[in-house]
């Protein structure tokens, strides 16, 4: 898989300096020692709760923020070096769709102009053909070309999310990061957007990183899922395998905590105690141990490595075999 990887991260960490008026807060360890490779055309889901570092990982992979440690290569090229021109060329090939459908569009510009930004910046389409191209993009995401002259506030949340996707697609990217694109939407609209992304992915051969806090959303869209907790990867593997047989106690808790329509599944709920620790003061050893029902003193000793478990899954838990 690594050979064909479009994007590859090795030992990537991100530490944000602490902030505060009176005393400098401790540095926030948002992402720690993450290895991840995404193949061409692959869709990878990143799942975790707030503070798990999943959005930071997405921005690291896009090169929007520099990594504190580790290396990221996109199509073989390192992300952190290169001339302005090379950087811009790379930029075009990687795009992002945001969570907040209200904050991600410039309220003061017509949506057509915003979608056309990529065309202008990268000189993709001659000026005369731009409006036609914008129209085509709008149609591609299920809107009308006539909508191009409207302002963002004239659209509903779901429509804005479609516009956001059209803007990202305008650059003709190879790699798309969707950062919780459906979390703010009603369930009925959420399903529409997932279907749209799924459809686009197949038609355009997009490589997709889909960030979500809901495992179930990932299930229908992604090939592979990465479960993160407090900046570290807990479990990683093919969607089906992780769903059928979650190996990490955190994955299990996450799956079981999601409210279910199906009453039968509800009975086996694993209730995690307390709140996640602060990313600026993570526990030693396994970061999950403070909330884990299966934690042993040994869990505090070493940071568990991601190791093969089951057919294609990798799990970071020293007790993975004992728990089966």
């Amino acid at each position: 898989m690594t050979a064909a990887a479009l994007i590859e991260a090795q030992g990537v960490s991100k530490i944000f300096p602490g902030r505060g008026v009176f005393r400098r807060g401790r540095p926030v360890q948002a992402v720690r020692a993450v290895d991840l490779a995404i193949g061409r055309g692959e869709a990878v889901g990143v799942v975790g709760e707030s503070g798990s570092g999943k959005s930071t990982l997405g921005r690291l992979l896009l090169g929007l923020i520099p990594a504190s440690e580790g290396r990221i290569r996109f199509d073989g090229e390192p992300l952190d070096r290169g001339s302005r021109a090379a950087w811009r060329r790379l930029r075009r090939r990687m795009q992002i769709v945001f969570q907040d459908p209200f904050g991600s569009l410039d309220p003061r510009r017509r949506i057509g102009a915003q979608i056309a930004d990529a065309l202008v910046i990268h000189g993709l389409v001659p000026a005369a053909e731009r409006s036609a191209r914008v129209g085509a993009l709008l149609r591609q995401v299920g809107l009308e070309p006539a909508h191009a002259t409207r302002f963002p506030h004239e659209f509903s949340g779901g429509q804005r999310q479609r516009i956001g996707i059209a803007r990202a697609l305008a650059a003709e990217p190879d790699f798309l990061v969707a950062d919780e694109p459906v979390s703010a939407l009603d369930v009925s609209i959420q399903a529409q957007i997932i279907a749209l992304l799924d459809d686009l992915r197949l038609r355009l051969g997009l490589t997709l990183l889909f960030i979500s806090h809901d495992l179930h959303v990932v299930r229908h869209l992604c090939d592979r899922v990465v479960v993160m907790y407090l900046g570290r990867v807990m479990e990683e593997g093919p969607v089906r395998e992780v769903f059928e047989a979650p190996a990490h106690p955190y994955t299990r808790a996450l799956l079981s905590a999601t409210p279910r329509l199906d009453a039968a599944r509800r009975a086996r709920r694993i209730l995690l105690p307390g709140d996640p620790p602060s990313p600026s003061d993570p526990p030693s050893g396994c970061v999950f141990r403070t909330r884990c029902a299966h934690a042993r003193p040994a869990c505090a000793e070493t940071v568990p490595a991601l190791e093969r478990h089951g057919a294609a899954t990798r799990v970071a838990c020293i007790r993975r075999d004992a728990l089966d």
Binding site: R19, G20, V21, F22, R23, R24, G25
Partner: protein, 317 residues
């Protein structure tokens, strides 16, 4: 917190040094010669030899850099020098005048808060009503009518017609407290004139903002009385931006109360500053400006601390 404060103080010291250098340079650059002026009072022609001698005695004949060096070394020893007019130590003049200016500004600010916050709150609560419009218009009027017009009218009405209070002047508090306060009233009102408008506008905006917050809904859901909601939740939250802006304006009033001092004969620090510039009394100008800068910087520092005390989010961030 300690590190933060120390860093702030260091940055402030650099700032004050720059201010001192700028004012020292500019005041020497400005045309006009202190010695010449000193000997020209009352439209008299001074003897050029006397002017030259005085220049020498005041050290004005030395090269600029030498004068600057002497000034800096004096400053490091905490010596602001003495007036070129009457050799009165600058620091004494500042210590004498500063409390009066601070008292005036404080009195004005208190009046502004006492009037501006309640009225601003009411205007916000009655947004769009006649009351709101009338008070907003009044605020604009207060801003628009110059202080020297208002001041003269105040004197005309209260001193000359009604004869309720003296036309102006100053009596030390220790000498006659009652007279002192009486004399403070009109200039304080004049200082409050501009501040009230500012406090009013800020309060109105902040209360409107505060009213739309979710915690006001929570307070209602708790079954709290309107007055408690208003005081404890709405105004308590609105007061932070109001105080910040008020402090900024109070800062600009240091040395900015010239007209009030002039119109009401209040012997504050702005008058000697103005007079010192007019007479090119270099040490006095530089000394007073330095004092004002130090106060301004200190005020900002204190306001940040007060801000933190009022807003726990900053205190603990």
């Amino acid at each position: 917190m300690l590190v933060w404060t120390v860093r702030r103080i260091l940055v402030s010291l650099v700032l004050i040094w720059i201010v001192a250098t700028v004012i020292f340079t500019v005041i020497h650059l400005v045309p006009g010669d202190p010695a010449e002026l000193l000997l020209s009072s009352g439209g008299m022609a001074p003897d050029p030899a006397a002017v030259a001698e005085l220049r020498e005695r005041l050290g004005l004949d030395r090269p600029f850099l030498e004068q600057y060096g002497a000034f800096l070394s004096g400053l490091l020893r905490g010596d602001l020098g003495a007036s070129m007019i009457d050799e009165y130590p600058v620091i004494d003049e500042v210590l004498l005048r500063l409390p009066r200016t601070l008292e005036l500004i404080a009195a004005g600010a208190i009046l502004a808060v006492l009037i501006g916050i309640p009225v601003g709150t009411q205007a916000a609560l009655r947004r769009g009503t006649v009351f709101d419009r009338a008070t907003s218009a009044t605020a604009a009027l207060l801003l628009a009518v110059p202080i020297f017009v208002v001041g003269t009218l105040l004197v005309l009405v209260f001193a000359q017609w009604l004869r309720w209070m003296p036309a102006g002047g100053y009596v030390p508090l220790a000498q006659d407290p009652w007279q002192h306060l009486t004399l403070l009233t009109m200039p304080a009102l004049a200082v409050a004139k501009g501040l009230v408008a500012v406090v009013f506008r800020m309060t109105r905006a902040a209360v409107l903002d505060s009213l739309s917050r979710d915690f006001v809904r929570t307070a209602r859901a708790k079954g709290l009385s309107p007055s408690r909601i208003l005081v404890h939740h709405v105004v308590r939250n609105a007061i932070i931006p109001v105080l910040t802006v008020l402090a900024l304006h109070m800062g600009t009033l240091l040395g900015g109360t010239v007209l009030v001092e002039y119109v009401f004969n209040w012997p504050g620090m702005s008058t000697p500053l103005l007079k010192a510039v007019e007479a090119r009394d270099y040490p006095m100008v530089v000394g007073i400006v330095l004092t004002i800068s130090v106060l301004f910087v200190a005020l900002n520092l204190v306001m940040d601390l007060v801000y933190a005390a009022l807003d726990p989010r900053i205190r603990h961030a």
